[in-house]
Amino acid sequence: MDFSFTEEEERFRAEVRRFLKKEVTEELLKDLEERGEVDFSREFTKKLAEKGWLAMSWPKEYGGGGASMMEQLIFGEELGYHHAPSGAHRQGINLIGPCLIVHGTEEQKGKYLRAITRGEVVWCQGFSEPNAGSDLASLQCRAVADGDDYVIDGQKVWTSNAHRADWCHLLTRTDPDAPRHRGISYFLVDMKSPGITIRPLINMLASHDFNEVFLDNVRVPKENMIGEKNQGWYVSQTTLNFERSGIAVPASAKRTLEQLVEYAKETKRNGKPLARDPIIRHKLSEMAVEIEVGRMIAYRVAWMQGKGLIPSYEASMSKLYGTELVKRLGDIGMQIMGLYSQLETGSKWVPLRGRIERAYLFSLGATIAMGTSEIMKNIIAVRGLELPRG
């Protein structure tokens, strides 16, 4: 075994770090926080594109960088650690782009892929519905063929960035009589289409990231279907073997922990720095242990992928572990800051610009989005441990 990085990889990490230190400044983060767009910056996404790093994971023939798994891991780790905003490109780079590379027509590839690699378009994902959450295959949003178009009617929910997005990749039901997974088709929908109404869903932080999206007689040209009709479920499950170790989560937590350690050293309670309080030391070091564990899980998922293996339940574990970890970190951060922890951005008394309070509230969504913790455990039990299905 060998846990070291090559010199070339270390050089790459140093270069990424220099760039992020320059671009992801405290001013930028503060500005995004004040605008209520903590993880969203089209400008930053464009800068990554100019640097040639935005689509580093993609094959070169589609405008990508063809980066190795280790480079992707390092890049993801540094982005996470520096709390770089990635909401403007996450859907395009990680989900719909790769899906189009595999299933898109030449025309679709030509029209959409370059725009994604240049950081010019923002995508949102129209999957979840009011009655289709963990049980996504029960979705009801209908698409009916009419001339050269499909006409879509229905409702989507928890649509992150719908109000900021240019395009939506959307799952619809095209055959209500077929078995659930075999009557679904997958569309690319222009968010400016007539008949789309967006209603904000304000989260506990009072920030506007989620939306309900109502589709009322929305006409979508037939050429906007990805893959075959009624094959949408399988098409949407496609993932290229891009890094999906979940490294950004423990990396980001590591930075937050470092900020908490600094706070504990600088802040006195009863005349003594918090850092000398055994209970606080204990809590912070417990988090340090868990963050290292999270980092190693992610490294191993990336390592598997680098060898061409497809992580299934291993990636589920990384997701589950990382997001649960961030919840505990938020909780511990709140306890350490005591009464001050409840203050929000805007108060002159607020510590760390309200980062911890935001993390505490925001972390709730992470153990639900993209597969709840319970679904992750089901996957581990059935696929990983081969326990009998319930």
Binding site: L284, Y299, M317, G384, L387
Partner: protein, 377 residues
């Protein structure tokens, strides 16, 4: 980066697993819990024939010259079968300490005997203060002519009752810090003035009380330099902590597998209990614990093997794996239901040892304090 075991390591794992499954069944483990010696000399001889005692000792001392990571693989397999006996204390606490700090003469005298299975060693470090820190060492060694005279009480000394030699950690002077003034001696266990008694413990693992009363040790048996023995102990503790983690992960893996087999087969309400979501989630959590434990163990072991600074990684690993093993053993008992709580069931062998293993080389609180210092607190 390369996170795979080598082919040789995989082969070592397979052969160790086959051997121990055959030679160290749970019936033997139980028998040895009650046995006065606590180990099987016959099995010990067979292990020596396989070269295990000399696995990581250099070839010039009759060892096999393999890497620390190879020892980790072997210890995982030993933990899997909870092999009783003096392997750990002989090889890790004794052999590696002599390798780390001994003179050429001492190495030549002791290490081939270790490698050939002719000598059982252990380390007498902890005392009634019950800490692994230098401040806990009160046992005195005083120079007298060409010898040192040792007085004091050591507790929790592994397998001292069957050891041929003890690496005794003594205080020879009071320095500016507790780490100064520590001196190590290789003490013949049959020296007059040594009294040894096995302590009844949760893991039935033959921890001993060793009383030194005017025990005379020749000066040439000093291991390392006078008053400067602590760095040797510290190096051994680092290696031993990771080695213990390997045993623990092997044990936790076995407890998990035993539980998975049981929940697939045990039927209640007309179906295997492993099909109930709540049991599936217990099992998923157990697996996550074991799997994360391995990841964090191998990084620490790699660093220790490479001689890189590893204080943080070792403390992270032990702090995490302490909790992993206890969690898996506890959930394992729960999934087995009432039968799991009996003295006769194998889960109990693991459950009791999970606690014993946490206490060895620093419990979770103790490891977290090390980590706290390492992250700048």
């Amino acid at each position: 980066m390369n996170l795979d075991f080598s082919e040789e390591q995989e082969m070592l794992r397979t052969s160790a697993r086959d051997f121990l499954t055959k030679e160290c069944p749970k019936t033997l483990v139980r028998e040895l819990e009650e046995d006065e010696k606590g180990y099987s000399p016959e099995l010990w001889r067979k292990m020596a024939e396989l070269g295990w005692m000399g696995l990581v000792l250099p070839e010039e001392y009759d060892g096999m010259g393999m890497e620390f990571m190879d020892l980790i693989v072997l210890l995982e397999e030993m933990g899997r079968n909870i092999l009783p006996g003096p392997f750990f204390c002989t090889v890790v606490l004794g052999g590696l300490t002599i390798l780390n700090g001994g003179t050429e003469e001492q190495k030549k005298e002791f290490l081939p005997k270790v490698a050939n299975g002719e000598m059982i060693l252990t380390m007498a470090l902890t005392e009634p203060s019950a800490t692994y820190e230098a401040s806990g060492v009160k046992t005195k060694a005083v120079a007298k002519d060409d010898a040192f005279v040792i007085n004091g009480t050591k507790l929790f000394v592994e397998n001292a009752h069957i050891a041929d030699y003890l690496v005794c950690v003594t205080r020879t002077s009071d320095g500016a810090s507790p780490e100064e003034g520590i001196t190590l001696f290789l003490v013949d266990a049959k020296s007059p003035g040594i009294k040894c008694e096995v302590m009844p413990t949760i893991g039935a693992d033959k921890l001993c009380e060793v009383v030194f009363e005017d025990v005379s040790v020749p000066r040439q048996n000093m291991l390392g330099k006078l008053d400067r023995g602590w760095p040797i102990v510290a190096r051994t503790l680092e290696q031993a902590t990771v080695a213990k983690c390997a045993e623990m992960i092997g044990s936790a893996q076995a407890a998990l597998e035993m539980t998975l087999a049981y929940v697939k087969e045990r039927v209640q309400y007309g179906r295997p209990i492993g099909s109930f979501q709540v049991v599936q989630h217990y099992c998923a959590n157990m697996w996550i614990n074991v799997d994360t434990g391995k990841s964090i163990l191998y990084e620490a072991a790699w660093r220790v093997g490479e001689g890189l600074p590893a204080s943080k990684e070792v403390a992270v690993a032990k702090g995490w794996i302490n909790e992993v093993y206890k969690f898996v053993a506890e959930r394992g008992v729960q999934c087995h239901g009432a039968i799991g709580t009996t003295r006769d069931h194998d889960m109990g062998l693991y459950y009791r040892r999970a606690m014993a293993a946490e206490l060895a080389f620093g419990d979770t609180d103790c490891q977290r304090e090390v980590v706290a210092r390492q992250i700048g607190l």
